[in-house]
């Protein structure tokens, strides 16, 4: 069960987390609670996986070169192929989706050449062709996601 403090931490601190020596104290001051209250609540959110982490969010292609890759894999082989792909350190999201292209992952490499080598290696390793859809433009102004936590 989420408390009022949990909900405020979830919705109001997706951005502007303080860059100061005692950031949790600063948040506590804003919310009128203690630093220990903030740390306890955030630890609960973290331990229960309501948040995946607190930290900097980096837009695509700021560090290295990335692409979104689609693959069409027979249903009975998808777990095997997905496991092979997930084993690459350069792969950081991998989703199964309902579509003819049923495996979607993001690959990040240090440069374009490294990325091409990686995609070649994945194709060789899995035996399926990789449809690479690199970002052309990012239209999203990321201010965080307004969560409806009324029933959470």
């Amino acid at each position: 069960m989420l408390t009022a403090l949990h909900k405020r931490l979830l919705n109001d601190f997706q951005r502007d987390f303080p860059l100061s020596s005692r950031p949790y104290q600063e948040i506590a001051d804003m919310l009128g609670v203690s630093e220990a209250d903030v740390l306890t609540a955030l630890t609960e959110l973290n331990d229960n996986h309501y948040i995946s982490r607190i930290g900097p969010i980096i837009p695509p292609n700021q560090l290295g070169v990335s692409t979104l890759v689609a693959m069409s894999v027979p249903e009975q082989q998808i777990q095997t192929v997905a496991d092979k792909i997930s084993a690459y350190a350069e792969v950081n999201h991998n989703y199964q989706r309902e579509h003819q292209f049923n495996l979607w992952f993001v690959a990040i490499a240090t440069n374009a050449e490294h990325l091409q080598c990686l995609l070649n290696a994945i194709e060789q390793d899995t035996g399926y062709s990789a449809l690479s859809l690199p970002l052309i433009d990012d239209f999203f102004i990321d201010l965080g996601f307004k969560l409806d936590l009324q029933h959470a």
């Binding site: 900097p56 969010i57 996601f145």
Partner: protein, 160 residues
């Protein structure tokens, strides 16, 4: 474009698993890297100002918070209209990412991607309807790909 040096990269790597949930998280990173907390904070501030860091904050797990329906909506819109349309779609509150990506004909005719999140199928259907109305006659084809399984999800990693 600001050049990132090894120290910046080391800071980014050290923070991707999450800031420490202890009173002085930047001090923790500083100690790991042999820096001072002031340097860590100053470098992160510069990276934030220059857009290398988009924001610093809590990363909610939508799925765990009840947003069980996550759709990747994909649209085929005219190339000369995509910049205007993409900005509009990206501003919708329920859209968490909005990208222009290349078509790959004949298999993949879509060039505009928008991720939507809802608590019910009906929520997502309403959201898709809103995008459909916004795009109007510029919507030449569309599809929605629901995720059925998260096979891997990690933060940024960079090989050194």
């Amino acid at each position: 474009m600001l050049a990132l040096d090894e120290i910046d990269l080391a800071i980014m790597r050290a923070t991707q698993a999450g800031l420490s949930l202890s009173p002085q998280p930047y001090q923790v990173i500083a100690e790991q890297l042999g820096l001072t907390a002031d340097i860590v904070m100053a470098r992160m501030a510069v990276m934030q100002d220059s857009g290398i860091i988009r924001r610093i904050g809590a990363v909610p797990n939508h799925y765990k918070l009840g947003y069980r329906f996550n759709g990747m909506t994909v649209w085929n819109v005219p190339d000369d209209r995509i910049d205007e349309l993409g900005v509009k779609v990206g501003q919708l509150t329920f859209v968490s990412h909005c990208y222009h990506r290349p078509r790959h004909l004949p298999d993949w005719p879509y060039n505009l991607f928008a991720m939507v999140h809802g608590k019910t199928q009906a929520d997502v259907d309403t959201q898709i309807q809103q995008i459909t109305e916004l795009l109007g006659t510029d919507n030449q084809a569309c599809d929605v790909l629901y995720s059925t399984k998260i096979l891997k999800k990690t933060g940024f990693r960079s090989r050194s």
